[in-house]
Symmetry: C2
Subunit: 220 residues, 2 copies
Amino acid sequence: MREAYHVELENLATKLAEMSASVSDAMERATKAMLESDLELAERVISDDTLVDDARADCEEQAYALLALQAPVATDLRIVLAAIHAAESLERMGDLALHVAKAARRRHPEPVLPENVQPYFADMGKIAVRLARRVEQIIKTRDIEAARSLESDDDQVDDIHRHLFSVIMDKNWEHGVATAVDVTLLGRFYERYADHAVSVARRMVFVATGRMPGYSTIEP
Amino acid sequence: MREAYHVELENLATKLAEMSASVSDAMERATKAMLESDLELAERVISDDTLVDDARADCEEQAYALLALQAPVATDLRIVLAAIHAAESLERMGDLALHVAKAARRRHPEPVLPENVQPYFADMGKIAVRLARRVEQIIKTRDIEAARSLESDDDQVDDIHRHLFSVIMDKNWEHGVATAVDVTLLGRFYERYADHAVSVARRMVFVATGRMPGYSTIEP
């Protein structure tokens, strides 16, 4: 049983790494589509989201098969369950990229964002994509130190997100209420995406090493 | 094994029903705290949230024990995994109630919401609480028909949520950008809460009956 278990766990980890790559591509494209009002790219993100949903279903099936056939216990059991949770968060990250792409489509050919907030979203997008790519690397390399570095990237997204509010609420905000509402929701999508990435990273470390990283709890 | 399995599954279902009751209380109090600028009530929701987090950890432990000791397969396995997912969504619903309570605390003694949108939140709050209470009932009574009725309640929340945007973006909106941002985020919290409730209801039907309800897929 042990060998079959490890082969199947390896397959599951590979699938999760692929999902991480997909949702980082999705967020990269969605951010570009939003910043450059690129309708074609937005449409691509929107139609590709079903692939992420399918990948998540595949991960669950693989995990179920592993549980049913190998009946792992103790740490092995927790590893499989961590993988199921990670797949759920990754699907949610795909949904958040989808929301960004839909905003780009909804406002097209108008830009979604006024010029003065675009740099914040360019930065949040860059960090969010980097977070998801690191998750992919962590699962491939089992590099726990890389997982720790995710925390500071997540803090950066939180800082930009907080700063965005002060920009929107400044008395010099001249883009009206509708744009403020768009910026508010979009900011939240990036913040949630980054949060999920950190949560996945922690679970991935657990999947790869069987030990939960010791740093502070991240709000799900 | 079969009998032990059913006793343990029953315990797990009871725990999930309790969690449903807790998060419906939390949303009821958070909504009241927000609408009546009741700081004490807001503080209570905020401090009680750790109980929901603990309950979720308990549910996971029970589910892990069940998997490790009983090694269920096929439908039985899926039921336990559905319970783990349900616990995660319920914890998230608690977090969303917490966000509402924190908004009430942040603006206290000022009201969070201008008078003209308060009725929308009173309605969304009422429906959200009803959704969570129905989830509790579904798990206790195994009434699948009740689960189906959740969909229309969720549609109502979506309708109110959509209508809120038209109120905020109306040219007669006179409450400024900061308030619009608050209303936007709070509206989203109720919408997400209702979505999670429907998702939990579907999983609860599965936990109670071993069959997934046949109605259309709900976006997580």
